[in-house]
Structure formats: C-alpha cells, structure tokens
Amino acid sequence: MRKPTLLSVVAATTAALTLAACSTGTATTGSSSSSSSSSSSSAKPGGAGGDVGVFTWWAAGSEKKGLDALEALFKQKYPNDHFVNLAVAGGAGSNAKAKLASDLANNQPPDSFQGHAGAELTDYIAKGQIEPVNGIVDELGGESVFPKDLLGRLTVKGNIYSVPSNIHRANVVWVNPAVTKKAGITAAPKDMASWIEDMKKLKNAGVNTPLTIGGTWTQVQLLETVLISDLGPEKYAGLFDGSTAWDSAEVKKAAADFKTLLTFTNTASDGDDWPAATDMVIDGKAAYNVMGDWAVAEFADKGKKDGTDYTYFPVPGTDGVFDFLADSFTLPKGAKNPEGTKDWLRLIGSPEGQKAFNLAKGSIPARTDVPASDFPPYQQSAMASFKKDKIVSSIAHGAAVNLAWLSDISTAVSKFYASKDDATLVKDLAAAAKKNQA
C-alpha cells in the first residue's frame, strides 16, 4: 500500500478515512452477488420478499401509467415483494441515464433498471455492471416467444443481459387532420420533398407551426427519421457499422432537409420534453409531430379518436421501415435483492405483464404470443408492421449507438439547433462517428 507523507500524518487520527484514501488502484466492483451466468433460481410463489427498487425514466404521462399497471400486477402476483418506484424524470432518459451512471459509479445500483435494448446496454456490460439473465429468459420461453431479431440485439457473447418489456416505433408522424384540411391536404405525402411542400402549403394557409418539436432528444429522433428517409434502411444501418460514411452526399442531403424542417417548427428549449410538442398537435395549434408511438396514449388520454381526431403515417420516405427501440430490464451487479429483481423480470417478461404494460403505455409487446386483438387499432397496425417491415435501430433511444456516441450526437444537434449550420452538423456527426465507432 502506498503511503504518501501527508497520509502518514492522517493515519494517526482518521483511520477510516486513511483506509479509503490509500487503497487506490483496486477497481471497485460491486459487492459479490450470485453471478452465475444463468441466473435462474426457481421462483418462490408469492415472491422472494423484500424491497425491489426499479429505476426507470417513466415518471409521467402514459409511461407512468404503464409502470403503474405493472406495479399493480406485481403486487398481485408477488405479494411478498415490495415494489419501490425509482423513476427519474427526463425525456428519453437523457438525464436519467447520467444519474444512473453516477449511482452505478457510486456502487448504489437499483435492484433493476430500464435500458434500451441494443448498443446502450453494451456500456453496462463492458463495465461489468449488469448480470446475464439467460436463465430468466429461457424460463419465459426464450426464442419461442421473443423475436430472434430482438434477442440478438440483447445478446453479447452468448449471454442475454436484459428482459425486454416492449417495443416502440419511432418513425411515426402524428397528424391533426382538422389542421391539414385548412391547406387542403388530405393524403399522406410520399416522400420528404412532398412533405416539405405540404408544410409550405400549411404556412400559406395560416398555420404558423406546421411541425412541432421538443427538447434535444426529440430533435435527434426527428433527424434519425430524416436520415432513414433520405438514405434508405440499408445505408442507414450502414452508418453504425462503418459501411456508410457520415459525410456522404445522402447524409448531407438529410442534414439540409432537417434544416428545412426546422424552419416550420415551434421554438423549443433544450430541456423541453415531448408531451408539450404532441399537445400542440392535439390542441390544433400545429399539424404534425414526429414522435415515437408512445404518443398514441397521449391522444387517448385527451379523449381523441383514432382516425377522426388524429391520424398517423410513417415519416414520409420510411414506409415499410420500422425504426425500432425496445425497453428492457436488467439485473445489476451488486443489487441488494437479486431474488426480488428476478421476480420483477419474470413479471416483465410474462404475457400478462406485457399486455398490462403495453396497453397502458401504447407500445407493442416484445413477446409474439400476446394476441393482437386485445389491443387498440394503432397497436394492432404496429404489431403487423413489426412482423413484415425492415427493422432499423433508433439513434435517439440508444438502440443503434452507445451512450457516449449518443451524447456526442446530441451535442451536435443541440448546437445545430442554435446555429442552423448544416455543414457543421455533418462535420460534427462525422467526428462523433470517428470517435465512437468500433
């Protein structure tokens, strides 16, 4: 043990502090836990008991309703366990994730936390902060009930690290038909160019805000759908494995289109969340909002009717593409109540859990054996699309890129929102890729 002079003085009086300061170098891994790679232990009827603290960024709106539904079901199925809601507010989890990273760094993991399936989880896996949950997934039915595509995105080196709860689609335009009617627009635009034409018509018809946006992450999400539209699904997917250059002509065109789209929007501040933007469409103040399909619950909440009060279509130019993200739950290393966590994961992955949760949240189940007929029209259509569409991964929601890369992309977009300089945006995006791409 190193003992600098200063500390030899210290040692005399504050032994505990000295211990803390001197024993540098040893990496802090979580306190030991049952880290067998198959974390299956037979479920105890009524639950293992104890507190189960679950970290999510579902603090309000339809997401909170979904979580509440799960909580109710959890209480019913596992009466011994005590659910502790650790939801942290902040859209798409951008704040929440930093706070989670801080808590994990402080060795204060929750019993389970929400993570987007895909690249985002690799951070936690590489840092050794989460445990494999193959046992639970197998117990739930494995590949026979979860889509292979999805499990593939959750698997690293043969281990599955989280239990998926739901699937969302990010490339959806939500429309207030009463507003588009003012400009005589009745059909969905076929591509980006005709969509922009429609927005011009709306402006001319006196609609000040054809398109709404919220804070930075909603803009990243809008940009990603423009990228899919202008690049097509294959080249878009290539952005993440290095086969498509981030400064290619198509990306430049997408950046220019993105810039044009932003001329039709409201003024947002970086911290704004999505419901305000969706509400502008609901309230007839705006025509379009590009938002993940969790927005459907927002429309339902306000008593709006699918097909008459609101309509939806894939972002123009992305028809037949499913811009995908999935939420999933983990078993953190050092969780205080791993058996309780497993109860929670079992509930999340069960058909009843998935139905209760997704009905409330507006997403579609990750399991394929939940009958579609139980769901309202939008979700039925999304379930059908998920089966036949090309699946691509969302940037804004951590499916395509890890946290560090996403953070760089977000900075670039936040910067662009202020400068409106699309050449710099492309340059920054390319630099972010260079820095973070494997």
């Binding site: 003085v9 210290v10 590489a126 501040s269």
Partner: protein
C-alpha cells in the same frame, strides 16, 4: 520566540481540521489532477480517448465545444457580475438614507438569497420559456398581456452568441439583495460628518456619492466581486435545472463536466475540465487571499 508549550495546544486544537481540509481539499485536488493526466481508451472500441499527460489539457482546450462553454461562462459571469453589482448598489443607494419601512424593503430584496438555486431554477425555467406569440408562456406571455410584445425574447434559447446573458437573470435576481446588504452596511459605516462637510463645501449630492462615499466602498465592492465571480464560475445547479446538463446552448464547464463524467464515461476529460476551472478561480482568488493575509499580518 514563544515556547512550544504555549502554542502547542492551539496547534492541536486546529490539527483535526487541518487534516480534514488537507485530505478533502488538497489531497483530493491532487488526485483529481492525477486523474486528469491519465491516458485512457474507449472501453468499447479501444480507441485512445485521452492521450495522457498535458495532451489531455490541449485536447480539451482545443475542442470547439469546450471553447463554446468557456465563452458562455464569460458572458454569464460578466452579465451576472455587472447586473448584480448595479442592482445591489442601486438598491443600497435608494435605501441608505433611511426610508420608512426600510426593513420591509430590505427583507424583500434579500429573500431570494435564502432560496436554493434549485427551487429558484424551477420557477425561472418556466419564466424563461422561449416560445413567443401564440404559444408563449412565462415572461413572454406576461409581456403580451401587458402589451409589451416587443420585449419578448427566446432568452437563453435564442440563437445569439450572447444568449447566455439571459441565464444571468435568475442569478442576478438571487444575489442582488446580498450585494445590497454589503453596500448598505458600507454606507452606514461612513459617518454623517463627512457628508455634512462636503455639503457645506457646496458639493452636490451626486458629487458627494462620487467623491466621498463610493471611494470608501471600494474594498466592499472588491470583496463582492470576488464572491460573485467565484460563484459564477461554480454555477451549476441553476443551469442544470433550467436548461438540463446536456444543452449545448447553455453549456458551461460545470455542466459539461457532468456530461463528460456520466454520459460520456470520460472521467479524465472531466478531471481536466475541473482542474482548469480550479485554476481560473485560483488566478482570481489567490492574489486576493494573499494580499488580505499580508495586510492582516501587518496590522
């Protein structure tokens, strides 16, 4: 020279604090500097993130995002310091001759100081909403209701390079009362005879302020500037609440450090950032402390 027997008990009494301050301030600063010089690679891609040594510093100083954050900090600091000093001095001048209900005015002006930046930030986030016209809320909406539409602004979200000036508004709101209290005490410390003497000499009220009173307040003004300056450098809570830590528009080194540390898993860059911040503060504060300390010894 006094005997050790006399001073030793005093030394022993302060020793625990010396150890704690030494450990928690100076030792941790040293550890932070050490972290800032480490080489690091991306744990997923194995690419070099921080080359190590002083290159870590040149890398951060060379980054456009960091320069932008420094620029924001400069704008914030200048507007905050000038605004707070002007406001505080103005209030003190208005109050210093004694007005009825002075205690009420004083308390009202000072009350924001008792409120946390977090609590204040929650209100100001709403007040400084950028939307104008139809969808306006917050201050912009108030302006419309008062038929002062021209005053609307996108505040810190505006595209201007100096938009950070708007972030100083809540900070000015919080600390002007503090500066007022300082100046008021300063004014009250000056004997009335000096003013009378100047008046007899035929000096105007303005001239009395300019030549008799203000010069005597300069030590207070200096202390106030130091306090405000270092608060501004450290400002984090307010921006975290109002703009969120990931905003490019409102980025300052302290918020950037949070992002570096936890969104980008880059503790080395965060440590570099924090060290530079410490140096900036030290450049201002150390001369002040040393001068004060010398003048006290000579007293």
């Amino acid at each position: 020279m006094r005997k050790a027997k006399t001073w030793l008990p005093g030394f022993l009494l302060v020793l625990p604090s010396m150890i704690l301050v030494g450990l928690f301030v100076y030792w941790l600063i040293a550890k932070n500097v050490f972290t800032s010089l480490q080489r690091s690679t991306n744990f997923v891609t194995d690419k070099v993130v921080n080359p190590g040594g002083y290159h870590n510093y040149t890398q951060l100083l060379g980054s456009g995002d960091y320069q932008h954050a420094l620029m924001n900090l400069l704008v914030l600091t200048v507007v905050f310091m000038v605004g707070t000093m002007v406001m505080g001095l103005l209030w003190a001048v208005l109050l210093e001759k004694g007005v009825g209900a002075e205690g009420v005015f004083r308390s009202v002006y000072l009350f924001p100081m008792a409120v946390s930046f977090i609590a204040a930030g929650v209100v100001w986030r709403w007040l400084l909403s950028p939307a104008q016209g139809d969808g306006a809320i917050g201050l912009n909406q108030l302006f419309i209701k008062l038929h002062l539409d021209g005053l609307q602004s996108s505040w810190w979200s505006s595209p201007s390079r100096f938009s950070m000036a708007a972030m100083a508004i809540p900070a000015i709101w919080q600390l002007s009362g503090y500066v007022m209290a300082l100046f008021l005490a300063g004014f009250r410390g000056i004997s009335e005879d000096q003013r009378e003497a100047a008046r007899i000499d035929g000096a105007s009220e303005w001239k009395i302020y300019r030549h008799v009173l203000f010069p005597q307040l300069s030590p207070i003004a200096l202390s106030a500037l130091i306090i405000l300056g270092h608060m501004s450098m450290k400002m984090f809570d307010l921006i975290y609440v109002i703009a969120g830590p990931n905003s490019y528009k409102a980025a300052v080194p302290t918020t950037m450090m949070w992002t570096q540390l936890f969104a980008q898993s880059n503790p080395q860059a965060a440590a570099v950032n924090a060290t530079i911040l410490l140096i900036i503060v030290a450049v201002v504060v150390v001369p002040y402390l040393v001068t004060t300390s010398r003048s006290e010894r000579s007293r």
